[in-house]
Structures are given as C-alpha cells and as structure tokens.
C-alpha cells in the first residue's frame, strides 16, 4: 500500500516554536511556572541594576563643572564626570608637556601605520614587516618620546627606522595596486626583471643605500626638545612599560624555554633556576627589589633611572611566564617532527626556527595573549612605587584640591578603558587563531 510519487515532498517549515520570537521565549524563559517566576525575578534585578547605573552615571551626572562643589550643587547623588574630563590629558599622557603631546600621538599613529600592512592580505613580505617593527620602531618611537640629543647609535637606528618605514609603505602601495611585492615591481620598472639574482640584489642594495643616506641627512635636521622620563605618565606610560615588557620578554622567554629543554646541563640548570626563582615571587616584590634594594648594591652615587629599573623587573618577571608557555607549546609537537627535520639535514637552530617554532607558536597564541593581557593589567602595580601610570593618575584626581574625594568615577572610567583595550586584544587573538589554523580544517 505504498504511495510512491516521483516528486519529492516539499520540506515542512520548522515548527513555530523554533522560529518565532514568541516560540523561543516560551521554550526558554516561560516553560513552567517556576521558570516564569525565575525569569521575572531576573528581569527585575536587571532593571534595578541598570536603572541605578543609568540614573547615577548619566541622568543625574554632571559633565561640566569647575570643581566638585559644583557637581554637588547640580546633584548630590549623581556621578561627577567633570573631574575625569578635566584630567583626561593627565590620564592619557601623564605630566608630558602639553605642547609636545603630538609626539605621543604621532608615535602611536606611526605604529598603526607600520602594522597596517600585516592586516592586508594582498601585501607581500609580512615576516619582514613584522621584524622591522620589532627591530626599528622602538628606536624611532623612543626618540620621538624622549627627544634631546641623538648619539651616533640612535642616529643610525632612527635612520634605519625611517628607511624601513618608507620601504614598508611603498611595499604596501605596490601590493594593493599591483598585487606584487616591491622588489619584483622595482625590477619590472627598471627593466631588469630577467637579470641574474646577483645583479638584482645589487640594484636593490644600491636603492636602499641611497634611501638610507637621504634619510640620514633628513633626520640630522630633526630637533625635538628633551622630555625627561619623570614627565611620562598615564596610559602612555602603562603602554610603554607593557609594550617593552611584552616585546622583550617574548624572545627572552623563547630562549629560556629552549634552555630549559636543552641537553647541556649548565644551560638547563641556569634556565630552570632563573625561571623558578622569578616565578616564585610576586611582581610587587620584584618591583620593590628593583627600585629599593638594587641601588643599595650599586656603588656610591650610582643613580639609575627608576623607569629602566621597573622595565627590567617587568621583563625578567614576564619572561619566566613566557618561557613556560613556550615550553608547553614545544611539548605539544610530536617527536616525528624533530626526527623529520633531522633526516632532511637540519641542525638545532634550523629545526627549531623552521619546523618546530612555527607550529608551536600557533598553539601558544591563546596563552600568549592571556599573558599579555595579564601583564598589561599587572603594570598598574608600578603606581605603588611612585610612578604615575594610569592608575596612579586616576587615584591622584581625588587629591587635587578642586576634586578632593572624587575617587569612584575615575576608577570606573579606568575599568572601562581597560575593558576596551583587553577585550579588543582578546578578540584579535581569536581572529588570529582562526586565521592561522585555516590549514587544519580538512
């Protein structure tokens, strides 16, 4: 009694409870009397919290005032954002001279522009771009931030940075417009596309050298006034400490991890000892050691820049955590990979650099980003030893005579700022993970 048709019966639409909003509500929120009660109570709690926050933080809040008393005159219970607004320059730039703030902005924009090609899929030579950021950017930025006289080394690195940046930008344009890399494009342009490797290389070197000389002459005329580090502060200082800390602890961590896995006993013991010692003490102890105890070991009258002490402490501390992350990544690589590398004749550094690390680093991304976020938040500890980083500045608002006692609003503002920074980092890391593991999806 089977009914056979040649026509496929059309799909029935999904039941109403699966597609409509009402259906979803019924299924998930109001499925029983108990669940309905829970839903209503939760909605009420959310309403109470949100309305409280909105009334305090926006409806009753004061945004324009000269001092805290004026906020009170406006509303006794609302937030007083005027104090935070008046202190915005301090919060972001610290005590940096106000007429020189453009240098910090410029340094930040430079970094964004430098890294921009890394996000564009058409641009070639990403590894070189990444390396140039790490090698050259700190010097150019460092000169922009501190200013003053350049020593010969600084002049050299700044010139290198300008050269690298110009090449990077032209490379990006060529990549976007012609979809090729800069060197190939230049060869085509000069009609040398078919010349031998050696000729091509010589032509490129000559071009870079010309650019370098031009850049050297150009930077020699630069003259920005010196800003001592004690004027640095706010979010800027936090990012400088965290940035240098991250950029330096990464390579140091890789070496420590390799050292810990090394077959040479001395290297292994030293690495392990270093990692275990620094990992077993809290960061604040390391900071106090660096700033209070370290000068006592030094010869009479030897005065060390406190910022440098702090940065060294942060690097050493964080390198240990980085080392353990890297070690975990290394251990995830199957033995076959090492053996495979050996069979094609690679030595230790070849194996590590070409086969193992590229695979291992991919596994480490979530942990590395977690570590970076942790470090960024940990750097606020430096406010305890008297540096005016972002937390130090936020807390100082309540001590400024016009705003005495204003401490909740600045801390809430700081929390929002940190959330934005850390959340975007974690989102970006997720994106990076997906992109890098594209090859894993079969």
């Amino acid at each position: 009694m089977a009914i056979i048709t040649k026509q496929k019966t059309p799909d029935r639409p999904a039941p109403l409870s699966e597609t409509s909003v009402v259906g979803w509500l019924q299924k998930n929120l109001f499925s029983s009397v108990f669940n309905t009660a829970l839903t209503l109570i939760t909605i009420f709690i959310i309403y109470l919290t949100l309305s409280g926050v909105v009334v305090w933080g926006y409806l009753d809040a004061t945004f324009v005032a000269e001092k805290r008393r004026e906020c009170y005159d406006n509303s006794l219970t609302g937030a007083c954002w005027a104090g935070v607004i008046a202190w915005l320059d301090n919060i972001f730039y610290g005590r940096y001279p106000r007429e020189e703030i453009w240098r910090i902005d410029f340094g930040g924009l430079l970094l964004v522009a430098w890294m921009l090609p890394l996000w564009l899929s058409k641009v070639k030579g990403k590894i070189l771009i990444g390396a140039s950021v790490i090698v050259f950017y700190p010097f150019l930025a460092g000169y922009m931030f501190t200013g003053g006289d350049k020593g010969w080394f600084m002049q050299f690195m700044v010139t290198g940075a300008i050269t690298a940046f110009v090449i990077n930008m032209t490379n990006m344009l060529v990549g976007l417009l012609k979809n090729t890399s800069l060197d190939v494009f230049l060869m085509q342009l000069s009609g040398q596309a078919d010349a031998g490797d050696k000729t091509q290389r010589n032509i490129l070197l000559a071009m870079v050298a010309t650019l370098f000389v031009a850049a050297f002459l150009w930077q020699a005329s630069w003259n920005v006034t010196e800003v001592v580090w004690t004027k640095w502060g706010g979010l800027f200082l936090t990012l400088v400490i965290a940035g240098i800390g991250i950029a330096s602890s990464m390579p140091l961590g890789i070496f420590l991890a390799l050292g810990r896995r090394s077959k040479l006993p001395v290297v292994r013991v030293l690495s392990t000892g270093f990692i275990e010692i620094f990992r077993s003490v809290p960061l604040i102890t390391v900071l106090f050691m660096a700033t209070t105890m370290f000068p006592l070991f030094m010869p009479e009258g030897f005065v060390l820049n406190k910022l440098v002490q702090v940065i060294i402490a942060v690097i050493l501390f964080n390198a240990c955590y980085m080392a353990e992350i890297v070690r975990a990544g290394l251990q995830a690589i199957p033995k076959g990979q090492f053996e495979g590398a050996h069979t094609i004749g690679l030595g230790y550094w070849g194996t590590m650099g070409l086969i193992i690390m590229p695979q291992a680093l991919k596994h480490m991304i979530p942990n590395i980003v977690g570590n970076i976020i942790g470090l960024l938040k940990d750097t606020t500890l430096v406010s305890i030893i008297g540096l005016f980083d972002i937390l130090g500045m936020l807390r100082s608002i309540s001590k400024d005579v016009p705003w005495v006692g204003l401490h909740k609003e600045p801390l809430i503002f700081g929390a929002m700022l940190f959330f934005i920074i850390c959340f975007s980092m974690s989102k970006y890391s997720r994106h990076l993970e997906v992109k890098l593991s594209a090859g894993d999806k079969h």
Partner: protein, 346 residues
C-alpha cells in the same frame, strides 16, 4: 652564585646602556646638586594642600613650595627642580641612598626618626594635630563622649596608634575600623559605617569641605597629638641642612618684615631697614656660610613669596587651597600668638 653575578652584570650593563648612568664621587650635597643642575625633592603620593598634581600635570602645595624655595636659593630658578613622588615605605631609604636631596612631605618630626634613621629634621613648615570629625546629628561635641564608638582611621600611620592610646587613656573602648585609602574611609563614614573619622585636623578640614553637605559635620575641639611636619635631610651634611633650614626661616622672616613676592624688588632698593637689606643681600655677607649667592633669600621670596603668602595659596583661602584658617592656629606668626618664629638673620 654564578647565576646571580651573571644576572647582576647583565642587568647592570643593560641599565647603563639604557640610561647613561652617572657616577658621582663623594661630594657635599650642595656640590652634587649644583653639578647635576637640579634639586631632587621628595614628596609622597599626592596629599591635598601639601603636594598634589593639578589637571595640567604640575605639582603644587605647601611642601612643594618649600622645594621650590630651596631650588630658588641654590639656583636662583625654582624650576630647576625634580619632584619625586615616593611611597611612604620607601621615603627614608630614598633619602638615605642619595636618591633624594631633600624630603619635604608631611613627615612628622619625632625623636626616634630624628635620632635613629640617619635623618635631620629641620624647621617645621606646618604644625598639625590629630582630631575627630563626627556627624552633627549624633549630638557629640567632645571626643570624651565617643564611648564605644566605631572610628574610621587610615592604617600604617601614627594616627592609628594615637587613637588606640587615646582610647586606652580615657577608657573609651573605641573600636578602630581601618582603611588603606582615605577616600574609602570617608565614604564608609558618610554611609554610616562608623561614628567618627580621625586624622590630622588639616586633612579633616580639607575633606570635610568636599563632603556632600559640609555643614552636617563637626570637627571636635580635642587635639590628640602633636604633628610638627618638617622637611628633612640626610644626617651629617651640616651645610646642606643649614641651606634648607635657613630657606624656611627666610620665608618666615620675610613675612615678619613685610616682604612679599610683589614688593621684594622695591624693598631691596628703597627700604631703610637694615634687617631687610641684610636679608635680601643688599648689605652684609649673610650668604657666605651657606655657600650660596648674595641673592639667595631675594630669589626665594621672588620665586614663591613669603610664608604667609604660601599658606594662603595652598592651605588658607586661595583658589587652590584646602581652606583652613590660619588665625589663632599654631601656624600663625609668633607675633600673632603662633609658633612660626625665625631666629634673627644677621
């Protein structure tokens, strides 16, 4: 051992590369300061009225003014000054190890500190004393009525110890509620978490002015402790101690003689008073013992004004001041019944 020394060498090398560190040979503090070209003056983490940052990132306050006065005396320029903000745990170490030249922060001059820590305290620039603040509607008008009360206090200072002593002496059975941060302490008090707050009276007055309704609160008349707040220098360099001590005396003396920031030029050229002329360097050689220029006191007054002007600007009734009246207090001139007294400058 190897690890440690390698580490130390490494860190030191890196540090020297970074900072271009400087070695100074053993010299007097004055020589060191002059050679460096600026004065390193230590303050604490910001405290309203004494040393705090404004929204443009500049330091101001009565203790900062002392730093500026010493910088003006040494260099004739109050901007040749590096203000160091150091946490209170590190304050005396930072002075002892030569990081700071001068400590000008609300540090109470006590015997143990003066004799045991390798410091010398000099002429106080502010006399404070610990007191209580209560809500007016509590009906309390004297500290002796605080029987069994909960009192909010910041921890880690002599304030807490003084409170315990006071409670024991008068059998008040006060329970201490301790806080790290004075903002949280005040919030707790305002929300009814304790019956009273105890702190230095200057701080109480400054904070009270910023309570939602200042009129609802009352500072009790009792003073629990003596808090002479004085600048301090390393023990053993008497010339440097003299410079700082006489810089503060110059401020007080100038007020007594009626020399102000505005009239100091006039006074130097037209005054007939030998005391004025001697102090401002128009006559005599008062500067020789200090190793400073003839103009040292003139430079101080020109840069920061006299003591009364500084007090008005940061503590008294000025725009940036915390609003504590000077009349009748210990901080008035000795001629007005206070303790501000300078030995004769001759």
């Amino acid at each position: 051992m190897k690890l440690k020394s390698t580490l130390m060498t490494m860190t030191a090398t890196v540090a020297i590369l970074f900072s271009g560190a400087t070695f100074a040979t053993a010299e007097t503090t004055l020589e060191t300061v002059k050679a460096r070209g600026n004065l390193r003056c230590q303050v604490g983490s910001p405290s309203p009225g004494f040393y705090n940052l404004d929204s443009a990132g500049a330091w101001y306050g009565i203790d900062v003014a002392i730093c500026e006065a010493v910088a003006a005396a040494v260099f004739g320029d109050k901007t040749k000054l590096e203000i160091q903000s150091v946490s209170s745990q590190q304050r005396f170490t930072a002075l002892a190890n030569g990081d700071s030249d001068l400590l000008s922060r609300t540090a109470t001059w006590t015997m143990s500190r003066d004799t045991q820590l390798g410091l010398d305290f000099l002429q106080p620039n502010f006399y404070d004393g610990q007191g209580f603040i209560v809500r007016k509607d509590s009906g309390i008008t004297s500290a002796l009525q605080l029987k069994g009360a909960k009192v909010c206090v910041t921890t880690g200072t002599t304030t807490e110890l003084n409170l315990t002593d006071f409670s024991r002496l008068n059998e008040l059975n006060i329970s201490n509620v301790t806080f790290e941060d004075f903002n949280v302490r005040d919030d707790t008090y305002l929300n009814g978490g304790c019956d009273a707050v105890t702190a230095d009276k200057s701080a109480l007055a400054g904070n009270k002015a910023n309570f939602p309704i200042p009129g609802d609160h009352l500072i009790l008349p009792e003073t629990l402790s003596k808090e002479p707040l004085a600048p301090a220098v390393r023990h053993g360099d008497n010339q440097w101690a003299d410079i700082v001590r006489w810089s503060v005396y110059a401020l007080i003396n100038a007020e007594e003689l009626g020399i102000t920031q505005a009239n100091v030029d006039d006074m130097r050229s037209t005054s007939k008073d030998p005391n004025v002329l001697r102090m401002l360097g128009a006559e005599g050689d008062l500067n020789t013992g200090l190793g400073l220029d003839k103009d040292w006191a003139y430079n101080i007054i020109k840069a920061v004004g006299n003591y009364g002007e500084i007090y008005e600007a940061y503590i008294g009734g000025g725009e940036q001041a915390i609003g504590i009246s000077r009349a009748g207090s210990l901080n008035a001139l000795w001629t007005d019944g206070g303790l501000m007294y300078s030995p004769p400058m001759r």
